[in-house]
Symmetry: C2
DNA sequence: TATAAATGTAAACAATTGGTTACTTGATTT
DNA sequence: AAATCAAGTAACCAATTGTTTACATTTATA
């Protein structure tokens, strides 16, 4: 029988949550190599030993963080309930969502970069993430099918490439906002500039799929 | 009067070049924090002291590397001589070039990521890079103008956003090839898959600009 | 209530790492 | 040929860092 203790002075679940949250920020801002276990412990207000107690190693902690990051975004996408919209609206909603998610969760982009710098070795063994993504590709495929039926979209569009492009046009812009702002001599994070970029992206995707 | 010594046993220029080349690979594969000065020295076959002699610090060495990386790609773009082509061909050539450059120089992507992780603090003081990029945006703008004159392109297309999108659709795919290959359960680096992606990208850009 | 398991702390360790010191060797100039 | 400066080497250092050891306290349960 599970006991719930509402007034625990010791709370392993909250300790784990705190560690994960602190680790996410630390890894995102400094990368896997740049991240410091001591800093994670300090931010999480937890003794460093607890990190090793619950997560075994810095490497494994990173793995937990990146897995959770992927599951979180895939979960948020499912909550959009795109099945209830016509294909064009569904696609536009997805582009807007992806953009906003990256904008609101810059850590996600950083973590994915880190994981790729390390040849995705942490994600390689994650069945759960693969399955979540399989569902996601299926979702996009069904939007495409619906669009063809409605006479709005071209057929034979590759859902994986479409997916990648939807992510790419948001990800690249936000990932490289620092070098981009210098190079293009323009604040890429200015709110009007951001809004125009989103409209540009929606246009890009809709023109790509339409007949 | 400058003397040229063809048989120097001591060659500061070649030492500097070796350090820069080794540093570029080391920073690209491990990031700024992950890179080891000792490893750079070993690969460059140079005493570690020489790195500090010529480059002052690890940080400054990174700055030299990232600056050169940007100047190199902007230089390669200029050599395409896009002015001699009709607008549509020029744009397609640029998309193909960008893709191939990222494919052949994966270090470039990694370095740009690192620089953004560090808020572009090394590039901030680089007038030369900003100027090179100004020329590049001008080049794309002139292609767009030509396309409008030829009656092929829509007008009022923002050259910066177009630039960003051309880069994005190649960059994202290749940057995230490791996580992408796992997530999409498909080898994104398979040569047929790569070819299809390039065609997809050309289509994306041409549909975006055409009337 | 005794006991074992879970949760937590302080301190230290061994390895690593960016950077430096002290010195040697080779090339150029006068 | 002597003197001067650039180029190069080996050894070392102080600080950092991921990880561990040894120990203490709280909680759940037999």
């Amino acid at each position: 029988m599970e006991r719930v203790n509402l007034s625990r002075t010791r709370d392993s679940e909250s300790t784990k949550r705190n560690i994960l949250a602190a680790a996410k920020m630390e890894f995102a801002t400094k990368g896997l190599s740049g991240a410091r276990v001591d800093d994670i412990a300090n931010v999480a207000k937890v003794n460093k030993r607890m990190i090793y107690h619950y997560f075994e190693s810095k490497e494994n902690l990173f793995k937990q963080v990146i897995e959770k990051a992927y599951l979180d975004i895939r979960e948020a996408e499912l909550e959009l309930n795109l099945e209830h919209l016509d294909a064009k609206s569904a696609l536009e909603t997805l582009v807007r969502f992806t953009w906003k998610y990256y904008l609101d969760n810059p850590e996600f982009i950083r973590l994915v970069n880190s994981e790729n710098l390390h040849h995705a070795r942490h994600l390689k063994t994650s069945k759960e993430v693969v399955q979540a993504n399989r569902n996601y590709v299926g979702l996009v495929q069904s939007i495409l099918d619906r669009g063809v039926q409605e006479g709005e979209f071209r057929d034979q569009i590759d859902p994986v490439n479409l997916n990648i492009t939807i992510a790419a046009i948001g990800y690249y812009y936000l990932n490289n906002r620092f070098t981009g702002s210098i190079i293009f001599e323009k604040d890429l994070m200015d709110s009007e500039v951001l809004d125009k970029r989103l409209e540009f992206n929606i246009e890009t995707i809709l023109k790509l799929v339409s007949r």
